[in-house]
Symmetry: C3
Subunit: 145 residues, 3 copies
C-alpha cells in the first residue's frame, strides 16, 4: 500500500516541540499494513521533523541549545526586510528559524513492523516549530505491505 | 512504480546552494505517477541535500552561518595530508566540508500527491556544494503508484 | 519487495562511528532485488545514522567537532537527574548526546541500482554512538523491485 496524507496542526508558541507520535501510530494502525516504512515530512522551511526523547527538561535544553547556536537577534541579510525584493513589510524576521531547520532537516523515515510503527523505547516523533505560532502542515508517506 | 535515476551537475563555486526543484518536478511529471514519495540522495561526502527557501539573501546567510560554525581554516587532522596513508598530495583540505555535510545530511524524502511533487509554498530542494567546484551526482528514488 | 529487518550491535566506547556499510551491502545482495531504496533508522535517541567518509583522521575530527559544539560537561536541565520525575538515580547524564542526535538525525535513505547498494566512491554508512558503550539496534527498511 502506498498512501500519502496531510495533517494540519496549530502551534502555540514561537518555539515548540510537538509530539506527533500518537497521531502517526493511529494512522498506521488504521491502514492495517504489516511491514514497511513511514516518512514524515514538514511542508515549511522554518519547521523540522525530528525523533528524540520526550522528557520535559530535555525539551527545554533543546530550545536553549538551538537559540544559542543560532541566535535570533543577530544581523541576518534575510531579516533586513527592506532590502528584499517584493517582500511585504510584515514579513517575520526568521532567518534564525531557517538556519535551525537547515541543520535539523525536513523529514525522517521510520520502520513499520508487525502491523505497527516500530519505535525504540524512548523514540518520539516531533514536529519542531521554529517560527510560530502558526497553522502548520506535515505530510505522512506510507509504503507498506 | 519504483524508479531510480542519477543526475549529474557541474557546480561553479566552492560553496553553492543549487536549486534542483524544477528538475525533480519534471522528473515526477514524466513518470506519470499519482501518489507516493521521492527521495533525493547525494553521492558525495562533502555535499548535502536540504529543503529550504530560495531567497537570495537567505542563501548568503546560510553560507556565512555554516562557515562560522565550521570554519575552514582551522586545524583538522583530516587536512594534514602528509600524515594520511596513501593520500595523494593534491587532495583538497576539506574537513570542514565533511563536517558541514555530517550536520546537514545526505538525503531528504518528500511526498508526491495528485500526480506531482507536493512541496510547501516556500519549499525548494537544494543540492548543497561544500567543496566545489566539481562535477557532482545525486540520485532520485521514486516509490509511487 | 518490502522488507524490514533489525540488526543489533555492541558499541565499545562512549563515542564511536561504526561503519555498517558492508552489513547493509550484504543484506541488499541477499534480497536479490534490482532497483529501489534502502533506509537505515536508529532505534535510539542518543545515536544517529550518517553517511560520510571512513578516513580515520576525519573520524577523530568528527568526534572533536561534536564535543566542541555540544560540550558534555555543561549544565543541562536533562542531566539534573534528581529534578526529573520517576528517573532512576543511575540514569546517565547524556543531554549532550540527545542534542548531537537532534542535529544529525535518525535516518538516511540510499538508492539501490543494478542489484546493489549504490553509494558514491567515498560514501560509507555509519551508526553513530553518542552515549555508549551499549547494546544498540538499528532497522533496515527495503523498498525495491
Amino acid at each position: 500500500m502506498i498512501d500519502v496524507e496531510e495533517k494540519t496542526i496549530k502551534t502555540k508558541r514561537e518555539f515548540q516541540l510537538i509530539d506527533i507520535t500518537n497521531e502517526i501510530k493511529k494512522y498506521v494502525l488504521k491502514k492495517k499494513v504489516h511491514e514497511g516504512e513511514i516518512t514524515v515530512t514538514t511542508k515549511h522551511t522554518t519547521t523540522s521533523i525530528r525523533v528524540n526523547e520526550n522528557e520535559c527538561r530535555l525539551l527545554k535544553d533543546i530550545k536553549h541549545y538551538l537559540d544559542e547556536i543560532v541566535p535570533k537577534d543577530r544581523e541576518y541579510l534575510h531579516d533586513d526586510i527592506e532590502k528584499r525584493k517584493n517582500c511585504p513589510k510584515e514579513e517575520p524576521k526568521n532567518a534564525h528559524a531557517h538556519l535551525k531547520a537547515l541543520l535539523m532537516g525536513a523529514s525522517e523515515t521510520l520502520p513499520i513492523k508487525n502491523g505497527k510503527l516500530s519505535l525504540g523505547k524512548w523514540q518520539r516523533i516531533f514536529f519542531v516549530e521554529l517560527d510560530g505560532p502558526r497553522k502548520r502542515t506535515f505530510s505522512i508517506e506510507l509504503i507498506a505491505k
